[in-house]
């Protein structure tokens, strides 16, 4: 493709203009967070704060039990990631490397479950967890992840399908049993894919609002997303603390994404077909 100078200039202008739409809201949030309440709500707006008040963050963080919310979020994120990696790899391995009766129909069902709207299952799930006595417990968010998730299983299975059969045969001759073949040979091979589903899970769970909203009632059990949302409810008029906590909340997913971009970009191409 020809790239004239004029073409390049036009491209950079467009790329930059679009970047403003995606970056400005974040930048504006960051600038606001360091201002005083009066500065933030002044009109016309001032772009930079007179004094950069880092103390805003400390005050905001201490105004509620955010440390506890953070611990809950970390616990749920870590546990569900372990759960998804273990369960999805097992299930995907079963679907990809074995032939068995009802395999195709079961796999079709698995794919079909991705289409079920959350509206339909949220009420009975609430009833179910209530019957288990789990309402208000982080178990409601953690336990289901140990039973796999259709999309992640699908991603892993697509990868496993492409590996030649020789690996199992060689290992079997060496006397390895089925579980050892899975855990010692295929798990290491799946590493990039496992990292991908781990990242996708971290982003989803960390950001989840509706699950915690429905299943958790006691403040001490809140996750950061839910804690922030309830903070919004009581602090409608005070914008500064709200901005500070929002920034803190979005730092981890943004860092995870930037660090692991490669896996996400590559993984998306396997996702569709």
């Amino acid at each position: 493709m020809k790239t004239s100078k004029k073409y390049k200039v036009i491209m950079y202008v467009i790329l930059g203009a679009v970047a403003v739409y995606f970056l400005f809201p974040l930048l504006w949030m960051i600038l606001t967070a360091f201002k005083t309440e009066a500065e933030a709500q002044g009109y016309p707006p001032k772009f930079l704060p007179d004094k950069w008040l880092i103390s805003n963050f400390v005050t905001a963080w201490q105004s509620q039990e955010f440390t506890r919310f953070l611990m809950n979020s970390v616990l749920v994120t870590v546990m569900t990631t372990i759960g998804q990696i273990l369960s999805c790899s097992l299930v995907a391995y079963g679907f990809a490397r074995y032939n068995f009766r009802f395999k195709n129909i079961l796999f079709m069902i698995l794919l079909a479950t991705m289409m079920i709207p959350w509206d339909v299952t949220m009420i009975p799930m609430y009833m179910e967890f209530k019957a288990f006595g789990w309402i208000n417990s982080l178990k409601t968010l953690i336990v289901p992840s140990f039973f796999g998730s259709a999309y992640y299983i699908f991603l892993l299975r697509q990868f496993l399908m492409g590996i030649p059969k020789d690996f199992e045969e060689a290992a079997r001759i060496d006397g390895a049993n089925a579980f050892e073949i899975y855990s010692r040979i295929f798990m290491p091979m799946m590493k990039p894919q496992l990292i991908l589903i781990g990242i996708l899970n971290i982003l989803t769970v960390w950001n989840d609002y509706l699950g915690p909203l429905i299943f958790l009632q006691d403040r001490s059990k809140y996750t950061l997303a839910l804690g922030l949302a309830s903070f919004k409810g009581v602090h409608e008029t005070q914008i500064i603390p709200l901005m500070c906590i929002t920034i803190i909340m979005i730092i981890p997913p943004v860092l995870v994404f930037i660090a692991a971009q490669k896996y996400i970009v590559e993984g998306k191409s396997g996702a569709i077909k």
Binding site: M1, T3, K8, M11, Y12, I14, L15, V18, F22, L23, L26, W28, M29, Q41, G42, Y43, P45, S87, L90, G94, N99, L106, I109, T113, M115, I116, P117, W118, D119, V120, T121, M122, P124, Y126, M127, F146, G162, A178, Y182, L203, W206, Y209, L226, L228, A229, I239, T246, M249, I250, P253, V256, F257, I258, Q261, V265, E266, K268, S269, A271, I272
Partner: protein, 301 residues
Amino acid sequence: MKRKGRLRKATPYLFILPWIVGFLVFTLGPLLLSLVMSFFNWSIVSKPSFAGFGNYIEMFTKDPQFYKSLAITLKFAAIFVPLNLIIALALAMLITQPVKGVTVFRTIYYIPAVVSGVAISIIWGWILNGDYGILNYFLSLIGIKGPKWLVDPAWALFAIVLASAWGVGTMMLIFYTDIKNIPIDLYEAASLDGASHVGQFFKITIPIITPTILFNVITSLISALQQLTLVLLLTGGGPLKSTYFYGMFVYNNAFKHHKLGYASANAWVMFIVILILTSIVFKSSSAWVFYETEVKEGKKK
């Protein structure tokens, strides 16, 4: 020996056992329970009583909010799905341009897609604030008096579209990887034949990525019809219920008004609406989706 043979036969089922249990307990069970509940008057406080088709009859004949919420949600999907698709495709084309540093822009465009809906609602709520929001300030600089986005029923839906479109990065990335995979010689051949850039886009790029377009239309349609987080937090369904989306209608019936049976019936109606709409999209796809790539893909497996 016999025992060993049986174990070997059971092995694949042992591997997929977690999913089977999960499917029964967290998908099929709830699905059936929800269907049963939709035929009952079921509240958290009192005993359930059988209602026959009562919930469905009430919804269709006595509850004007049902039609209103359904209409708002369909309107949102009708605006959001094509808009998001066009923006995502345009951005994907933009970040496949051969200029230096373009991957930095790819990163920037994707970042909002990893931001929680809670955070999005807070950030955009602040930008769209009618009194001291920065957007209205910018508009005033060019002589436009901005509306009170979140308080004016005429603009609230648009505000939600604007905030949702901020997360377009996911779809952009799916298009991006697909466009990247198109063999370069196809374009070279076309440009030898004298096809312009625009011509190449419509004659090569678009036809090749039609399966991805289909995938994106369906996934974004399903998620648009279920949008809940942003309306709960950005507008709360208001002003004057102008953004009282269907998801909110179901949620409030269940957890605010404690009409679990009625809400289950609501949810099933949406499930059926989603099934009908997605199957229409699927049916139509034979007319506009080109399957050459899938044939190739099938050979690889």
